[in-house]
């Protein structure tokens, strides 16, 4: 008996010893720690001033910088139909001078703090932010107050801002994927205010200082805005300072009329956007879905993971790994105030554009027709639960999440309770969401060189051809003489 024990002990020792091959623990991946992983974000304290301005603060222990952000609940979709791009230009004009102080003065004032102003305009809201050293926060609040409350808009400054915005957009649209996605939004949101957001660069030229002033007067109102401060701050002091500086901001906001969501596309539709210098073709396919607060949001997010969230998802495995149709293939979703949208995207060489487009459509149809398997659902959930904390890690990510929550009035499910909502998703809820939101026929948009159009026109019954600015050039119907 002792001999058996000794042999067994020796066997264990040999199995663990690298001298006789690898240690046993190396053969399989380790299990995760049993301790629960809980996402706990800093508490966001909010108060509404008498003028209607929301003030939100979040203290982040251990943060090394502080971020100050103005959120205006008006975005590109609020630009008038005849002035697309106005919301974005208005945001860029903040800090470009007041009636008494020049743009140069403000620029020096901001850069003296060691920072610069950053403006972002999204579909439904706008942010103007400053990240500063903690000791510069007071100056930052003061500077933001001057820039926002006493803003004035000169043609001279607007000309420079317009030029910068124009070339920035031109540069972005050199990417065929950006071009294709912009066009997808244009056709998905036809007849809806969200179409305004998908503007071509040329339209910026028509925006004048009086347009900017009018947009500012309409939307930059305290009851339509929030000031957010987070990072290395004393929350109470910061809130008090913001209230002190912004409490005198005047101007009523009549409120906004809710815009009904557009209907999802329901017919076969293929668009080809000419991108003369594109090195490869971008293929996107997508449709309209529910808004940010819809009950299907979390099941749908899991579906997007299954479809194309990572390199392990269906699109990547099929289009790149198995069939070699594309350099990559993923899917994404975005949720706005009125509705949402999803899109699959792939970058393909010219010879496999058609195959890539068909394969994307096939994968979307398959997911709508048959429920994803439990393993796929669980993997999608695992990714989302694990990845959500990372989205709030950087100051930029935290700012984006917080601004979105405040601007769209989202609940804590869109904050640190997201993982709990994801955990509730199962094959039934995901299947129901797939039937509701993926069954409608997605619109396909291909951006590529004009000489790549031939096989596309041969493959699909009808192809709408657009120039890079998005103007319809012609419609090619299969079988008809061109």
């Amino acid at each position: 008996m002792r001999g058996v024990v000794a042999v067994a002990a020796l066997a264990v020792r040999l199995a663990l010893s690298p001298a006789f091959g690898q240690e046993r623990f190396r053969r399989t991946p380790p299990l995760p720690d049993a301790r629960p992983v809980e996402l706990k974000l800093p508490e966001v304290r909010t108060a509404v001033l008498e003028n209607g301005l929301t003030v939100a603060t979040a203290v982040q222990p251990g943060a090394l910088t502080a971020t100050l952000m103005l959120v205006v609940k008006a975005g590109e979709a609020d630009s008038p139909p005849d002035r697309p791009g106005l919301a974005g230009l208005t945001a860029r004009m903040i800090g470009k001078g007041t009636k008494r102080l020049s743009a140069e003065y403000f620029e020096n004032m901001v850069e003296a703090m060691g920072t610069e102003l950053s403006a972002e305009t999204r579909m439904d809201y706008t942010t103007v932010s400053l990240r500063v050293l903690p000791e510069q926060l007071d100056r930052g609040i003061f500077a933001l107050r001057l820039m926002v409350l006493e803003a004035s808009f000169s043609e001279r400054e607007l000309a420079a801002v317009r030029r910068e915005a124009f070339w920035g957009l031109v540069d972005r649209m050199k990417d065929p994927e950006a071009l294709a996605r912009r066009h997808l939004f244009r056709v998905l949101f036809e007849g809806h205010p969200y179409r305004t957001a998908a503007y071509a660069e040329d339209v910026i030229k028509f925006i004048a200082a009086k347009d900017v002033a009018a947009f500012y007067e309409a939307f930059y109102r305290p009851a339509n805005a929030a000031v957010i401060v987070f990072g290395a701050i004393d929350g109470e002091t910061a809130a008090r300072r913001v209230a002190g500086h912004f409490g005198g901001w005047q101007g009523a906001f009549p409120g906004r009329v809710a815009v009904p969501p557009p209907s999802p596309n329901a017919r076969d539709r293929v668009c080809f956007v000419e991108a003369p210098n594109a090195p490869s073709a971008a293929v996107v396919a997508g449709n309209v879905v529910m808004d940010a607060s819809g009950p299907d949001v979390f099941p749908f997010l899991v579906l997007m993971q299954v479809l194309g969230g990572t390199t392990r998802s269906r699109l990547f495995m099929s289009l790149r790994e198995t069939k070699g149709y594309a350099f990559y293939a993923f899917s994404e979703a975005a949720f706005f105030r009125s509705c949402g949208a999803y899109w699959a995207r792939a970058l393909a060489p010219p010879e496999t554009i058609v195959a890539a487009a068909r394969e994307i459509l096939r994968e979307i149809e398959a997911l709508a027709a048959a429920p994803a398997g439990p393993a796929e659902i669980e993997e999608g959930k695992s990714f989302l639960i694990g990845n959500l904390p990372a989205r709030f890690e950087s100051p930029e990510g935290f700012a984006e999440g917080l601004a979105r929550r405040v601007a769209l009035g989202l609940d804590e499910a869109q904050w640190d309770k997201g993982p709990e909502r994801v955990k509730l998703v199962n094959a039934d809820t995901a299947g129901a969401a797939a039937r509701r939101h993926l069954a409608a026929r997605p619109i396909v948009v291909i951006a590529g060189r004009p000489e790549w159009l031939g096989p596309v026109a041969e493959a699909f019954a009808s192809v709408e051809v657009y120039d890079p600015a998005g103007t319809l050039v012609r419609t090619l119907v299969k079988g008809e003489r061109q």
Partner: protein, 445 residues
Amino acid sequence: MKRAAAIVLLLALAAGRVPAAGPLAAAPDPLGFAVEDLRLSNGLRVLLSADHRLPLVTVAVGYGAGTVRERPGQEGLAYLLENLMFQGSENVGPLQHIGFVQKVGGELNATTGVDKSLYYQTLPSNHLALALWLESDRMRSLAITAASLERTKAEVAEEHLGRLRSDPYLEGSIRMDELIFPDFPYGHPLIGTGEALGRLTEADVRGFARAFYVPNNAVLAVVGDFDPARTRELVARYFETIPPGGPVPEPPRPAFKRESDVVTRSARVPVPGAGFHMGFRFYPLQPGEINILRVLEVLLFEGETSRVRNRLLRRDRTSTHLSAVLDERLSAAALKVFSLNTNEIMVERAERAVLAEIDKLRTSAVSPDELTKAKRRYRLKYLDRLSTLRGRALYLIDAAFAGADMAALGRDLDAVKDLEPAAVLAFVARYFTPQYRVVLELEYQ
């Protein structure tokens, strides 16, 4: 001997101790975080920095295996190996590393520079052991096969061609690097023409991995939400028994050719618009002088009110695009400027304006206000880099390779704080001289 090491490990684990051969020191935290610095018996340096704000952890490994280690004819080898690191090891199949990390919601990437290759992943903190298992498996048993080598070479070559096709200015940038760092180990590009890459053999790759992808030439950083004692155990479990490599030589010191120092020439690279590169090389720098240079980069080029940006883009409007970077390559550095202009006349004016702005710094001291502005911006940028776990992990690895004292991290910020205008004046006078300047004008169509 290996067996003995394993038994020692078992005993240590049973006793809850970790066989750290090096001194265990917890550094003070002028940057708001503490760093535990230890070294395993195989030479692997381990840096641990706990941060419990989010349930995430970053595991990063840096190998002193950058392009400076390549010999002529081996261009692309370091980058090829970076890609092969995802092609599997004894217990991890090709691309499975990516799959394992993504499956749990993690994010990962890798990068290769002149001095090192970096591998990093951020994932939920309860999966820390997974990341350590993955990194240890490829450190210990990277699978280099003829098939994976050929496939990866083809992918790298295709990716490189794609970059060249989509960025018409890339070739000019590569040429500029060769001119400003006229010494093969420091100036040759990550991939080059692709010819050398195509000729690389399995023996070349194995030799490079054997020489440089070894624990005694690596730094492991773990930053995030972890229990230090448990993490020390895991690190020891997965890494302690990986055999060390042979002695790793110091990277070669630069031997820049004097005759190549002054260059003004046209790149025979067809580009769509007029423009130029201008660069100043700094070598050798005295201790601490790199901090002056870092502030100077900010003062001259960062922010719309910085001297050169303001002049070229706004006052004179000679440039349509301007960018600048301080390229630090071990003990050498170059301040590189890239400008796009509407025509050759504007190119010439912009070049003159850059030099004029630098000359001003040589002849009159920068004002305290302007210097304070640059220092604040530099400080904010420095702290921003530390705002994510990944940023902090890579910062620690950089500091370790640079030989920084882990107990004195962040002291360079103090040095910047104390920087005086007179020091800037003296630095410009000493280093911004024609013999260290390179100008490369682009030949546009």
